[in-house]
Symmetry: C2
């Protein structure tokens, strides 16, 4: 997962929103405020996650590939499947695998069954990397989210579900 967005350090004040709402009557002031707030906090979270991962010489793209491989029984997958699961293009996945392979964290193996295909496999070094990164990430994330009790977490998930339903209307 990788998120890049302007950091929106200057959210509109109520006065500014009001001024815009006068010129543009379709403006829904509380909708705008919540929407921008959501994007802003998510961006800061994403940047913080990258800062955490970069201490381990990873960013979200490569990190996520390692995690997806670790989830698999055989610790392996294909570039196409990994691209689909991470939501990047196959072209981008080629680059991610290139750099992971260069670092010795994964290997490419030819698939004897389908010679168009390549199998990407997590190496011992890749697993060892995760065994360092994940505890650090989990520890930090636990701290980050400790202000939210389980009820609030469920509330958040429910609200996010509602927003997600509306996304097609935005496009």
């Amino acid at each position: 997962m990788m998120l890049i967005m302007l950091q929106l350090r200057d959210l509109p004040t109520p006065e500014v929103l009001q001024k815009f709402a006068e010129r543009y009557p379709d403006a829904d002031v509380t909708a705008i405020a919540s929407f921008l707030n959501l994007l802003r906090v998510a961006t800061e979270l994403s940047l913080a996650l990258d800062a955490c991962l970069s201490k381990h010489d990873l960013l979200q793209g490569r990190w996520w590939v390692l995690i997806l491989l670790m989830r698999e029984e055989r610790l392996s997958s294909t570039p196409s499947i990994l691209a689909e699961k991470t939501g990047v293009t196959r072209a981008t996945m080629t680059g991610l695998i290139d750099s992971l392979e260069q670092g010795g964290l994964v290997v490419r193996v030819f698939d004897k069954a389908d010679r168009r295909s390549v199998i990407v496999k997590l190496t011992d070094a890749g697993q060892a990397k995760l065994d360092v990164v994940m505890p650090d990430y989990y520890r930090r994330l636990r701290q980050c989210m400790q202000g939210l009790d389980v009820t609030k977490r469920e509330e958040l998930n429910q609200i996010l579900g509602l927003i997600q339903l509306g996304i097609p209307a935005l496009i």
Copy 2:
């Protein structure tokens, strides 16, 4: 505001989370789920916003600059201030202003008071562009958020505030 993040199309199932939690005892399963959910929905929102803006030949960076200029009494600001408010570097802002100026939406004016500085001003064409984009954006956003009543919007803002407090612990 501009956000880029992997789309995380394959959120961990409860079983996967459980498996990871066994190997990594620091894992807080509900914290992880909410965190990833937040990043995923925000990413999809950001992509949807870009899709909406790109119909008007804009993306979040240039769009945000136009909005910040419109907020100003004199419809103008400086690259440094705009960079600070959008959360991009001054180098990036140079490029954003370049392309806006090329499209005739802003102009650069030399500042007579401080000859190091440049004043960026929204043109009539820039204001006209906003007068097309903003109603479209506001209409779509209203629809997108219509599933959330005002109470839920406030709940969301409160939860986002709590998460934001935890962000320093993640870095």
